[in-house]
Symmetry: C2
Subunit: 184 residues, 2 copies
């Protein structure tokens, strides 16, 4: 079940470095791309960093809307995660082509993707210099959600056998999030 | 065996989102801290982002030296990864206290940590506004290394049973990098 995540604990959704799917929407158009280059930036107010290349349709939509969604896919969505990087939303409705179902976000224009493990709704904090020079965007997290089966009370707790988050490398190769352990 | 990593493939050391240890040195002082908030930023020239809080001794050393090292620890170093975050280098020589052995980097002032899986030597690209406002640093990767047992030809390939990279969450809890798989 989808539940709200306390904003000051939203960083924990990204802290282990999963690859995310970035959703965006503006003026009736919407898109989705994959991004391994994301990280938490602050606890409270919760902030994130994400790299969005100038050549992407997502970039146009995010700059126009001033918001974006981060969706944390599980292993069952690895093929879709690859596929959204292999075509452009300028020429393809990736949601329709890949059969990606969405639901409405609460605070932003972008839709969020059904079947993910967690979601962050983000509002761009305008930093034109680093956006232009490095394709680097800073977002304030204005709402966060997680599937309570895998994340609740501010912690991930994947049930045995449950599909986990994924970490892209290159050439179609991913790592699945592995064993949880506690260090002392 | 430690081998050079081609700079344009250095991003692959960080692409799966491991927690890193940040080493720094200036004027005879050196330090190490942990950072889950890191990501690749560009392929060529290779760049990275890292968050370095204003209250850390690492911040002083990195700003003074203009360089830092990123060291990718394996699970056997998880306790040390926690421990370096639990004390300040201002009052403690963490290397001595925690028994962390180092070797000399090639291009920067910071030492690198023995026993890690990979290493990135980084030169700060000065961006005073985001350093001050967000504690966000951009570094150009000027040399990169990996243990060829686990990374070679631009790819991770952990042998069965080999200790893997780690992904911090909170409260002493980590995930180990899990199963590798290829999506089509």
């Amino acid at each position: 079940m989808r539940q709200l995540v306390e904003l000051k604990k939203a960083y924990r959704l990204l802290n282990h470095g999963p690859t995310v799917l970035v959703t965006s929407a503006h003026a009736g158009e919407q898109n989705v791309m994959a991004a391994a280059w994301n990280m938490a930036l602050d606890f409270e107010p919760a902030k994130v960093c994400i790299v969005i290349d100038k050549n992407t349709y997502t970039r146009e939509l995010v700059e126009a809307a001033g918001t974006f969604g981060l969706n944390i896919p599980d292993r069952s969505m690895a093929s879709a995660t690859l596929a959204v990087g292999a075509c452009s939303g300028k020429s393809t409705n990736k949601f329709a082509t890949l059969g990606l179902a969405t639901f409405a976000s609460q605070e932003i224009s972008a839709p969020l993707l059904e079947g993910c493990l967690g979601w962050l709704e983000c509002k761009v904090i305008p930093e034109p210099h680093i956006q232009q020079r490095y394709d680097l965007f800073i977002g304030e997290v204005v709402a966060a959600w997680a599937d309570s089966t895998v994340f609740s009370d501010g912690h991930w707790h994947f049930p045995p056998g449950h599909s986990r988050s994924i970490h892209y490398i290159a050439g179609g190769t991913f790592f699945e999030t592995g064993e949880e352990f506690t260090a002392a």
